[in-house]
């Protein structure tokens, strides 16, 4: 009986560890995604790049 109790405790701990781990990784991913979205938005703002791309695309 004691072994069974110990098993359930270990299982619960493992499951909570998995959830905590998922949450930590998800937080990293969200942070990186925000950073990336910001960079993409800044990249889109560059008129020079847009101009050059458009002009050269017409020529190729």
């Amino acid at each position: 009986m004691k072994q069974k109790d110990q098993n359930i405790k270990e299982r619960v701990i493992k499951k909570l560890e998995l959830l905590a781990d998922y949450q930590a990784k998800k937080a990293i991913l969200n942070k990186e995604t925000d950073k990336l979205s910001e960079s993409v938005a800044k990249g889109k703002e560059s008129e020079e790049i847009a101009y050059l791309k458009a002009k050269l695309q017409n020529k190729q």
């Binding site: 109790d5 560890e17 998995l18 959830l19 781990d21 990784k25 995604t33 990336l36 993409v40």
Partner: protein, 304 residues
């Protein structure tokens, strides 16, 4: 002397175990996505098997919410099932991150390829402008010699004018290829200056050179025949033509200098774009690599 009190940061407090073996506090904590304090509390002894079962149900329910896979009634997830479901969800999120990341990098790389193409044209333009400047200078000098009544130099003038004309044509073609007119780089709409345009400027040089030769030949023939006036007229027209040719070659040279300045400016801007794209790529790469590295190290920990 007393030590200053040490205050914990809010993040540390959030991760601290909840007080006592309180089953409701733990299940509430799970519901509120505060897994770390729930975990720390469960690690302490004091929960009965029935408490632990309720906590497990709460954890399974949360895993189901996150992954979209609910456990069957009265049959909790196994640890492996939880791990697989959470891992799959995380992979899906990473993939979404990848789709956001990839078009930006592709666009940036595409711009870099175009920058390289434009840089080649600009290099060629610079080289040809230097050649044309030298040819314009030589043409100008040849007109001075022409004016000093050395008829054979008219041939030299024609040859230089012809070479200059071809060079200017190349410059015009390259300029069109780079398609830089109306650009934010401050280049003019067209190759201004009939002085630079092969159709006008150098044709004029060529035409005056040809006219000179004809007139010198006519003048020389007339002189042999003993006619002084046609000789004088022939030389006079030749000198006037040389003066125009001299001025035209000078203007061509000045326009080439202006064009050179503008091309250098374009070169500067294109280098800035290139370095901007490279920085952007590095930033994407770093953030992507950081995210994936952290995720993969987290995954390893999870597996251990």
């Amino acid at each position: 002397m007393t030590a200053e009190p040490q205050f914990k940061k809010p993040d540390d407090l959030l991760n601290e175990p909840l007080f006592g073996p309180d089953k409701s506090a733990v299940t509430n904590s799970i519901k509120q996505n505060r897994f770390q304090p729930a975990l720390e509390t469960v690690k302490r002894d004091g929960f009965s098997p029935s408490d632990l079962k309720e906590i497990e149900t709460a954890a399974d329910k949360k895993t189901g919410e996150i992954t979209g896979t609910q456990p069957k009634p009265d049959k909790p997830f196994s640890v492996d099932q939880s791990r697989t479901a959470l891992d799959k969800t995380l992979r899906h999120d990473v993939k979404r991150y990848g789709t956001l990341f990839s078009p930006a990098v592709q666009a940036s790389n595409e711009t870099l390829r175009k920058v390289a193409f434009t840089k080649e044209i600009i290099e060629d333009l610079k080289r040809r402008i230097i050649q044309a400047k030298s040819l314009a200078g030589k043409t100008r000098k040849s007109k001075v010699v022409e004016a000093l009544l050395l008829p054979f130099m008219a041939i030299y003038g024609i040859l230089k004018s012809h070479k200059l004309k071809n060079n200017l044509k190349e410059i015009q073609e390259l300029y069109k290829m780079a398609n830089l007119p109306n650009s934010p780089f401050g280049l003019p709409t067209q190759l201004q200056a009939d002085k630079i345009s092969p159709q006008r400027g150098s044709w004029a040089l060529l035409a005056t050179g040809t006219a000179h030769t004809g007139l010198y030949v006519a003048g020389g023939t007339a002189a042999v025949a003993g006619f002084g006036l046609p000789l004088a007229i022939g030389y006079l027209v030749g000198i006037i033509g040389s003066i125009f040719g001299y001025r035209n070659a000078g203007k061509t040279r000045n326009e080439l200098l202006k064009l050179e300045g503008m091309v250098n400016l374009a070169d500067h801007h294109i280098n800035q774009i290139e370095s901007g794209c490279q920085n952007l790529n590095t930033a994407y790469e770093t953030s992507g690599v950081n995210a994936l590295a952290e995720l993969s190290s987290g995954k390893k920990n999870m597996m251990n």
